[in-house]
Symmetry: C2
């Protein structure tokens, strides 16, 4: 948990450490696990946890284990993307889902990672490792490439300066390749991630613009890589992204250049 590195010694910091101790792979923790993960004495952990439970920020199961509570979830649902972005996007995500019956995702940028805000998945959709509230690195996902392509220069340089985690043989592996791909994405107005996270999955992403025309989010469709021509998905994904942008109040003058299909495809192989 990145925040632990700069944990303040204050009570506020300890409260947030207790909340941050819960992760997607460990959403349920015992008191001693909480204590271990936060580095707080058992007695302090017990006192903090009890107070958090009394307020609904945490909840305690019958077996005495702790989970994140409903009250905290309600408060968190007020986060900007949780409210306006998600509400505005949902109908368009629905349309996109009905057109594909695969995975439709909405994501925002946070540092060098994308955070998934919403995902619609069919019962027979290709499995994806992303989950709502989960993160993936920007360089390996279509939404990430779209968001990074439109991110401030300093954010792009941060990512380009770091080692690029390799998920498959098709994951973008060098800063040079990433720079070229980002230029393509900016020129074409969409990104394709073909087997970069899992060889079986392919995703096509496009940018969502806010009222000031800056890119505030990205959407993507994730389909089986086998036998899918990504470019058949591009018009639908771009149309949905534009619809959401319009719903958010983006300038109608927003125009994206035409596809340059052959080039993109090559730039990913």
């Amino acid at each position: 948990m990145r925040h632990n590195a700069r944990r303040p010694p204050s009570v506020v910091g300890r409260v947030l450490d207790v909340l941050g101790a819960f992760t997607s792979d460990r959403p349920v923790l015992t008191l001693s696990e909480l204590s271990r993960r936060t580095g707080l004495p058992l007695s302090t952990t017990h006192r903090l946890a009890a107070e958090l439970v009394s307020r609904g920020a945490l909840q305690r199961d019958g077996d005495g284990q702790f989970r994140v509570g409903l009250w905290l979830w309600e408060v968190a649902s007020l986060a900007p993307h949780g409210a306006q972005l998600r509400e505005s996007a949902m109908p368009f995500l629905e349309d996109l889902y009905e057109a594909t019956h695969q995975n439709v995702q909405l994501a925002v940028l946070d540092g060098a990672e994308v955070v998934y805000i919403e995902r619609l998945s069919g019962r027979h959709a290709v499995n994806v490792i992303s989950r709502v509230g989960g993160r993936l690195p920007v360089h390996a996902t279509a939404v990430g490439l779209v968001l990074l392509a439109h991110a401030p220069a300093d954010v792009q340089e941060q990512v380009l300066a770091r080692p690029l985690k390799r998920y498959t043989g098709r994951t973008i592996a060098s800063p040079e390749q990433l720079r070229r791909v980002l230029a393509d994405v900016r020129q074409q107005g969409y990104a394709v991630s073909d087997g970069q996270i899992e060889l079986v999955a392919l995703s096509v992403g496009a940018a969502v613009h806010g009222p000031d025309d800056t890119v505030v989010a990205a959407i993507s469709v994730v389909v089986p890589a086998q036998g899918t021509d990504p470019f058949t998905l591009v018009p639908a994904v771009r149309a949905s992204a534009r619809g959401i942008s319009r719903a958010l109040g983006a300038p109608r003058t927003l125009r994206l250049p035409e596809d340059v299909r052959r080039e993109t495809h090559q730039s990913f192989h």
Copy 2:
């Protein structure tokens, strides 16, 4: 904010008060508004808010106003219903959405209120006042009636003992009527809320059972009241609720009695 009534004087309590100061009608607050809503001195509020911002629990806009932060939302997405319930339900909610193109909702019980966990809405769906993360009283909504019908006796008595808020002329107004409706819901395995929140909207709800066969959530479809026969929706809503229950590991032996249409309908008028 119900928790303010019993606010502990501790720092933990103050931190939660700051987070709880944000509401659906006021998701963006200035420092002085935060101070006023929490009853904390401006200096204390400033210190707490700054630390919460430094950890991503809150975020500060360019204009200096505060919102709930992305980090808190990520942590909160680990709440039980956020993870397993929502993931298991989504494909079935999608099917229900495609069958109706209206509003499809997933809700859980919290005291005398329902909390909406998920909602899928078409662009042309009837407007509903509920929102994800929002609450409505149990007696006026189909999901609420389903959840209350299967809630512990003490929870039912709490609700029956309170004044029942009247939204429209069709809102259940007396404890006697509510008792009768809850009995119907238990017998039939579904609930109909016809114009009880807004005269223009009608909803049909059914129960979602967990591994131990207890009712853990409810789903509903909200459609325009005008020209809709609620009973055409009952089979689809019940089938989806059963599908989700099965996905959650509910016993397959779960059987719900046949509809008793005329009786229910009368019990709501």
